[in-house]
Amino acid sequence: MITKRIIPCLDVKDGRVVKGVNFLGLADVSSPVSLAKYYSEAGADELVFYDITASAEGRALFTDILCEVARTIFIPLTVGGGINTVADFDRVLKCGADKVSVNSGAIRNPGLIAEAAKLYGDQCVVISADVKRVDGVFRVFAKGGRENTGMEAIEWIKRCVGNGAGEVVLNSIDTDGVKGGFDLEMLEAVTNAVNVPVIASGGAGCIDHFTELFKALPKVDAGLAASIFHFGEVRINDLKQTLAENGIPVRLS
């Protein structure tokens, strides 16, 4: 039976992990390589690296770091941030990334997903959508959640999947950072609309939120989070143990 995936997300700027990271026993807490190794050994099923660099030099540094990470750990790696063209896909895939996540790039260039899926396969293309309720309607936001595109989210996600996106990361802006649990209503709407894996993001504050997610929505494939893992509030092994005790299939290491 396929297991539910637990995915830590790392924001990287100019080759360093940002957002306070609070691990005991890690000499360099902002080194993407040490953190990737830590998470891989802690039982993460996959890692997401998100490049929030603004400059070209920073982007080149990110690429170097990615190669180093891919040399060190042997679990699937997804890379997002600043992916606007197939050349960007090529750049990160050559460093050992397995999947590439697109967000604003797909909004600006509607042909990007189809073009990339044709070149690298559907399994390689992830649509990451930042979604927020506006007057009761799910709307897609761009530019890191700052700009309302006006597009209805479920139709947009369906269109992306139709064009070849093989996986959906749904980040609810409404629940993100609140630590009150995942956005089950929004996630249900998306899992009912598409037949590709859906990764829940935004809102996890404790282990119970993951149990609640997979119990309420068996069609969700994975849970993604950042700060609760970085700050050690939730340890991946404890989380997986609890999920297993609740009858949810996980990979225990």
Partner: protein
């Protein structure tokens, strides 16, 4: 030394790094002489069966692989590389494979329940079949490995050494004498995957 065959499909960076991690020298090569000189061969691959089979034939590497396998050299196909070991593949038409493993490659959509997603992607547990395989000597039944595929090995019961349940039991690994194939990605399956590669390097 392990020769990882480069015939223009897929990214071989992680595979090469995996061998480095277990302390085994590996080269990525499309040179028939290098492949012949290697102690072991890895046939990787992602993409579509027909396309990859054609590239392998065009480069003449299909003959090299078959000749080396016939000499008894350990050969491992990974993902699409495993599928190419079979006699035939039915992905966008019918295509001929290397014929080193009896059976054919069919869409998983033919056998799994309609409500399951395709591709079969993620970590799944191995169920061992038949006699204990030497490539599994450092792992246990039930260990999880990472899959990404929409087609599977069919009509190959005599060669199946492991399968994984996804609505149906799908072929996860095959073996015949010195020829091995993994549908999953050992190079993306954490420690379990590295231990499979290590065992292969000791055959």
């Amino acid at each position: 030394m392990v020769a990882i065959i480069d015939y223009g499909v897929g990214n071989l960076f992680s595979l090469k790094s995996s061998f480095a991690a277990i302390g085994v020298e590996a080269v990525v090569t499309s040179d028939g002489d290098v492949i012949s000189a290697a102690e072991r061969i890895i046939l990787p691959g992602v993409g579509a069966f027909g396309d990859a089979a054609e590239k392998l034939r065009e480069s003449g590497l299909d003959r090299v692989v078959k000749a080396e396998a016939a000499k008894g050299k350990p050969l491992m196909g990974i993902c699409l590389g495993m599928q190419l070991l079979f006699e035939r593949g039915f992905e966008y038409g019918e295509h001929e494979g290397l014929g080193l493993i009896k059976g054919e490659i069919r869409p998983i959509a033919d056998v799994i329940p309609k409500n399951l997603k395709i591709p079969h992607i993620g970590w799944n547990a191995l169920r061992f079949r038949g006699e204990a395989s030497p490539i599994f000597k450092y792992i246990n039944e039930g260990d999880h490995v990472y899959f990404v595929h929409s087609f599977y090995g069919a009509n190959c019961a005599e060669s199946v050494i492991a399968d994984a349940e996804y609505g149906e039991y799908l072929t996860a690994a095959v073996a015949k004498d010195n020829v091995f194939g993994c549908q999953f990605h050992p190079e993306k399956s954490g420690d379990v995957g590295l231990r499979i590669l290590k065992a292969f390097c000791e055959i």
